[in-house]
Symmetry: C2
Subunit: 199 residues, 2 copies
């Protein structure tokens, strides 16, 4: 139990529900905010208000944006005929930080999961099929996690896209940058060996 | 660099400045908030607004409260003639969670520190001296950290209070609840041995 005043306790409870924060770090964060009212509390409040007002899901790709269509979908330079399929918005941001992909995205909103009863119609897979045909897509890049559910979803989408005459590719698997072989799991080493390239 | 839209990037930057959060956990938290607008974002926004409007420092003890005088200073049952001196509000909350102390508090706002050039007048030590005389205090309990700066501060306050005819005590040092001797540092074991009690 916190012994802070009610309003402050409510704020601690709300903050403690965020992923990565618990009651103890939420208390520290709230004290930090209150003791730095002008430098921390007011800017955070203003930023949160703006996001609450403006953030919305892009009607086309499922990205989060301030506009009905996100900046990537609005950018004509990114109409490269390539769509990169990702599980969620965090993965889209991660791809954008990589700064290699120049096409557009499609956010599924999760992966197929028999355990959690997530089927194709619970994800944005029908939307993807519609986009592929409407936008004249040449290549679909499956950037899904190397997990059982991620790979199940990748296979399902590849099957659904087969026969449409477009390339379906997936991210390469192998040794990560800066990775030491000694610390890698056997599956990754095996995959990297099978996918070896001329040096 | 984040590739999120500007408003969202600003919010991530603000959240990442909180103690215990970094850019990665701030991104996760912001996505969590946006994807749960009604369940998480709006309640957090409302809680933050209320705290921004109402939180203030208690004019008497330095606690954080919604009132000019905090709930503890306003409670006549807590006028026990005991004042517990703590470094900061987090320590006051920790004492209150302990639920043993029934008197009032005095928050110093830090510790004396030669390195950081923090002197007695930078803390609320003059206020403490004034309170002790005005409120007819019988006992001052020094609940300061067992650090060099904490103990320096405790000695300074004990010196300043000497000759006023009141008891000056400090928290006991010893084995913490659930603590195993094997994992305790030598200083704690020595202190616990010197302070041993009849069983």
């Amino acid at each position: 139990m916190d012994k802070a005043p009610n309003e402050i306790e409510t704020l601690i409870t709300q903050l403690a529900r965020l992923p990565g924060l618990g009651p103890r770090s939420a208390r520290r964060a709230v004290l930090h905010l209150i003791q730095r009212r002008d430098m921390a509390l007011r800017p955070l409040l203003a930023a949160l208000e703006r996001v609450a007002q403006s953030a919305q899901t892009c009607a086309c790709c499922g990205n989060i944006s301030n506009l009905p269509l996100c900046e990537i979908c609005c950018d004509p330079k990114r109409a490269t005929g390539e769509i990169c399929v990702v599980e969620d918005v965090a993965d889209l941001w991660a791809m954008e930080r990589g700064a290699v992909f120049k096409g557009r995205y499609h956010v599924l909103g999760g992966t197929l999961s028999a355990l959690d009863a997530v089927g194709p119609e619970d994800l944005r897979i029908p939307d993807l099929m519609a986009r592929v045909q409407a936008e004249g897509v040449r290549e679909v890049i499956l950037a899904l996690g190397a997990t059982v559910d991620g790979q199940t979803t990748a296979h399902y989408i590849a099957d659904a896209l087969s026969g449409l005459g477009l390339a379906v590719t997936a991210l390469a698997q192998g040794v990560p940058m800066g990775g030491e072989l000694d610390y890698l799991d056997d599956g990754t080493i095996g995959a990297a060996l099978r996918a070896r390239k001329a040096f």
